[in-house]
């Protein structure tokens, strides 16, 4: 995983609507990247559903929560619709996993991102990282709030 204290690699990825989203556009605002394995997988469904339930509280802190997987924009769109998830989802689809690799969040053996959280501060510096021991383990939403409290 990318190390705390390093400059977050900039990226431009299409979101669930196919619109380009760049990290640099969030300068001046904290960003929490949520790397997850795959749209519609049972564990990722649990994870994003839980985050959605507390999305209001997360957004109240001012942080921008962005989901990232190697799925396409179209799959992201369907996944969001099925779950009623409002979290923006970014497609690290082509070239596959390029952004995730820059963050050390790509699992070559699985062909997906790992399951991790990366908090980037207002200056674009990585301030907090959590990587699940296995992609099957969900970081609880409490960890997002812990990180935001720690990097206030």
């Amino acid at each position: 995983m990318i190390s705390v204290g390093t400059k977050a690699p900039d990226f431009t990825l299409p979101n669930h609507r196919g619109e380009d989203v760049s990290l640099s556009a969030f300068r001046g605002r904290k960003v929490m990247l949520v790397f997850y394995s795959a749209d519609f997988s049972p564990v990722c469904t649990d994870q994003l559903s839980i985050y959605q339930e507390v999305l209001g509280e997360i957004e109240d802190t001012g942080v921008a929560l962005l989901g990232v997987s190697v799925d396409s924009s179209w799959t992201h769109r369907a996944f969001r619709k099925q779950l009623g998830v409002e979290i923006p989802l970014l497609a690290d689809f082509h070239p596959k996993g390029a952004m995730s690799k820059a963050y050390g969040a790509y699992l070559e053996d699985w062909g997906t991102t790992n399951r991790s959280l990366v908090l980037i501060d207002e200056e674009g510096v990585v301030r907090w990282v959590h990587e699940s021991p296995t992609p099957l383990e969900i970081p609880g939403a409490n960890l997002i709030f812990d990180a935001l409290a720690e990097v206030a």
Binding site: L48, Q52, E53, L83, G140, A141, L143, F145, D146
Partner: protein, 154 residues
């Protein structure tokens, strides 16, 4: 900062719905969750005092919020676990008419049940449980805790 930072599972208190005797087994459950329904009979068969905590996740189970509000409203007329057992036992019948039918079957005052299940007070109780689960790191259900530690379902 938010109140949803990590915190231990609150021990059972007088505001909790509890059934049976013995050591407390705190269960965060989603009434719309098939895993919870499948495990419910085994959970209730344990020789523990079962402490129920609401953990509805609407994204996965769109009827869950209504089901939890209904169970909590039934609890205000002494029929909380009757409702929970019934919802887990008959998962295909969870629309509003089915909830009303249960309320009548358990002898509840239907007008009061209707008012309660849509009330802010009931929503607050359900959300309070949910947030305590979030703070304890619950991310799927059923999530069981004994002595403050997560344990596997029976």
């Amino acid at each position: 900062m938010s109140e949803l930072t990590s915190a231990p599972v609150p021990p059972a208190g007088p505001e909790d719905h509890a059934r049976g005797g013995g050591e407390d087994l705190i269960v965060y459950a989603d009434l719309g969750c098939p895993h919870c329904a499948a495990a419910w009979e085994r959970i209730t068969a344990t020789t523990s005092r079962l402490v129920f905590r609401h953990f509805p996740v609407a994204g996965k189970h769109p009827r869950s919020p209504a089901m939890h509000a209904a169970a909590e409203a039934a609890g205000r007329q002494g029929a909380f676990f009757d409702f929970v057992d019934s919802l887990f036992g008959d998962r295909g019948r969870v629309d509003d008419p089915h909830l009303w039918e249960r309320a009548e079957r358990f002898g509840l005052d239907l007008d009061r049940f209707e008012a309660d299940r849509r009330s802010e007070a009931v929503a607050t109780v359900v959300r309070h449980d949910f947030e305590s689960g979030i703070r304890a790191g619950v991310s799927n259900t059923p999530a069981l805790f004994r002595d403050g530690k997560r344990v596997d379902p029976p």
